[in-house]
Symmetry: C2
Subunit: 259 residues, 2 copies
């Protein structure tokens, strides 16, 4: 049986540890500086916990799931011989682990929030390794987690991570601005939820988001846009966000229809 240690106790570490447990690759240890989060996660998984890198358990695979900045430093503290060390970050080069003999990437393309269970089976997992042999081991683990394993270098992975920032973080921020606009008038955010649900269902069912755009920007409805600008009191949200995005929707749609 393959022995896995998870290093870290944040959103991705938690989700990965739970997903591994679900497919009978239960981590044998959580190693994390944050005692509260680390021991809570270890309890959840039913494994040991250490905050001390010198106490780290013997394992076949060490999965570093910490903030991007901390990966190289944590890697430098690990002495693991022939074991494989991985990280789970979208935008960090595999070479940050190059001190080790066998290393690679296991990047789940998903947004994770503490305490929220996510089914891994549908998630694309991007993998990479410094040797064919190591890649096969990582592939074996990834294929237990999901049906969508993709071999990808840093270039492909970074591009996907960047696109994910737009598709996930920035779209969520649009919801946050909508909430802020309604808050001033005590209109509950929940009123928008059926709209948000259908917007997403449409894009999931469509070939391209360009095919399903609606609203004043795509119609170039000058009157409504002008009225909206009058209503927006926050200058950043008005000029730098509403106007810019409205223009960009119109320009991208024009370019596409000219194709």
């Amino acid at each position: 049986m393959m022995k896995v240690v998870i290093i870290g106790s944040g959103n991705v570490a938690e989700a990965t540890a739970i997903a591994l447990k679900k497919c009978n690759l239960t981590p044998i240890q959580i190693c994390a500086r944050n005692r509260v989060n680390g021991s809570t996660l270890a309890d959840k998984i039913g494994c040991s916990y250490t905050e001390d890198f010198t106490n780290i358990a013997d394992a076949d695979i060490y999965i570093i799931s910490v903030s991007d900045d901390a990966i190289a430093q944590i890697s430098s503290q690990l002495n693991i011989g022939n074991a494989i060390v991985l990280h789970t970050a979208g935008s960090v080069d595999m070479q940050s682990l190059s001190k080790h003999k066998n290393f690679g990437i296991l990047y789940p393309l998903q947004t994770f929030t503490k305490g929220r269970y996510v089914e891994f089976k549908e998630i694309p997992i991007l993998i990479e390794a410094n040797s064919t042999k190591t890649l096969e081991v990582i592939k074996g683990v990834a294929e237990k987690l999901t049906d969508k394993v993709i071999e990808a270098d840093i270039n492909y992975r970074s591009k996907l991570h960047l696109a994910a920032v737009f598709a996930c973080n920035f779209s969520n921020h649009m919801y946050a601005i909508a909430e802020k606009l309604l808050e001033r008038d005590d209109i509950p955010f929940d009123i928008l939820k059926p709209l948000i649900k259908e917007t997403t269902n449409k894009v999931l069912d469509s070939k391209s988001p360009l095919d399903i755009q609606t609203g004043p920007a795509i119609r170039d409805d000058f009157k409504t846009k002008a009225k909206h600008c009058e209503m927006l009191t926050d200058k950043i949200i008005k000029r730098n966000i509403y106007v810019t995005l409205s223009q960009n929707i119109w320009e991208i749609s024009k370019k596409t229809s000219q194709k």
Copy 2:
């Protein structure tokens, strides 16, 4: 039995006509300038079609579902005596119908796309009227369509429409930009769909989108943001969208945590 005529044959007209049919308020006629769309919709509903306003059928309610700019003009062509005339627009004042004796609003807060069926039961419908009696009639119709009927004036309705532009059109545009970024490298957009699905499921389950934000902007991860900016070749998308939204995510999160 109440007799309804739908004026228009666009996305909202189609969805409204189908929804009315579903709750046994089948429109008796579609009146629309666009012959192809108008007669197709009438066939779908199983009612008559006319493009000629002088041929419009006698009815109790006329629902004008056309582009915002055309509402007042179409209203001016209607001679309907004591019947009620409504429009379905988010940002147009009820007074655009004030030539008539009985008028009001029936605004379904949703994004509609031709040929795509939308269940009305969950959709908030905002209503307004020029008299209590007319409001009661509109309420009766709206309550057949949905469980979420809200009486709202132009102020409330416009604010909701503005928030909807962010929650629907702008979030969809974030998907469009993500697609564009992947297109250059022939990465299929479908790879992002599990992420889009989970981003939305999270916001539907959460109290506020601010509670669930992830990614480099909310972490103020300078290195990743700088790397992303290097990767973005389109100046508008880099400077005016990526940088602005990243800053705004960080600023809104700071303000909220200071509360």
